[in-house]
């Protein structure tokens, strides 16, 4: 019986450096403001906005807009689906690393 290679299980929406970064920050922060994400990930506002749209359309994040005083603020939080997707992504990445290491060990033994 063959098992599916973990690379095939990776979600294209999540498995992208910036979007994975957004989700990682949102997971740890519980909710994160647009400006913090932009500074931390060193992105332009437009670029970050595009990635957020992709994640929101996929139902992985929730975006809340509001004001603090006169300043507009945009807060981002992971949805339960987003939390699950991030957990899956990490598990798949770890599995990939394990498979690569096992393959390398097999090559050395042979």
């Amino acid at each position: 019986m063959t098992t599916e290679h973990p690379a095939n299980s990776l979600d294209d929406v999540v498995h992208q450096r910036v979007r994975l970064g957004i989700m990682t920050v949102a997971h740890q922060a519980r909710q994160v403001e647009f400006g913090f994400l932009r500074t931390t990930l060193q992105l332009t506002a437009g670029n970050l906005g595009q990635h957020l749209t992709v994640l929101e359309k996929a139902g992985l994040i929730r975006i809340e807009k509001g004001y603090e005083g006169k300043r507009p603020r945009t807060w981002v939080a992971l949805t339960p689906a987003g939390e699950a997707a991030l957990r899956d992504e990490i598990a798949q990445l770890k599995q990939l690393i394990q498979q690569v290491e096992q393959a390398e060990e097999g090559t050395v033994t042979r």
């Binding site: 992208q16 450096r17 910036v18 994975l20 970064g21 990682t24 920050v25 740890q28 922060a29 519980r30 909710q31 994160v32 403001e33 647009f34 400006g35 913090f36 994400l37 931390t40 990930l41 670029n47 595009q50 990635h51 749209t53 992709v54 603090e68 603020r73 939080a77 990490i90 990445l93 770890k94 990939l96 690393i97 690569v100």
Partner: protein, 243 residues
Amino acid sequence: MADESVPQPASPQELLATMRDLTRRVRAAQRGTWFPLLVFATITLLAIPVYRYAPYLDVFGTCRSRPDQKVCPTPSPTELGYWTVALLLAYTAIAAFYIRQSRRRGVGTPIRPYVVVGVVLAILMTAVSIWLTFHPVLPPPADPFSADPAQLEAGPAGWLINGLASPLAVIGLALLVLAWVERHWALLAYTVVYLAIGMVQGNHVIRSSSPWFFLPYLLVPAAVLLLGAAAFAAFRPRTEARA
């Protein structure tokens, strides 16, 4: 398209390393360790005039009097009232500080478990202290006017129960939760040292007739807390200080 603007990483190892680095940076931005330590140092110092000048209110009716002498075998209910109120106000101030910092820095705060545990421990401290008033660890002497409490030994269980009734121990136990929610190894090490100092100090009875005999019990932990607040403020990561 959004995907085209950023280079893709070469390996899963790099992705996981980036995630770890981001997590570390978010945690640094969420920390505000110096503030709780400063608040606790302040309320410990403010306890000094309460201990020295606040009257002993015999609300539990434990004092025994004779014409020339009055003996009150339990700690002052005024002091207990001070610590209960001071601790609850301290946790309110700490929660407000972390929420304000969270809004300013743009990251959520994980402070809720710390504040909840702190408030629960403060209430538990009050309850245990009142319970100890009526169920003392050491049997009350037949003649309260002749007994020297310094010569009695409470034993390990007694010290444990007395520790739960001690505001300074309660502060330390809650700091362990703060170290956990902030994933802060330096704070964990600091808290262990703080609790160890408290334990050593708690095992030494000061025999003195001075009305200021209690000063070391408050000044030593206050100094440790102040030093901790200064150290954590001075050595916080640049990202934390700037945010």
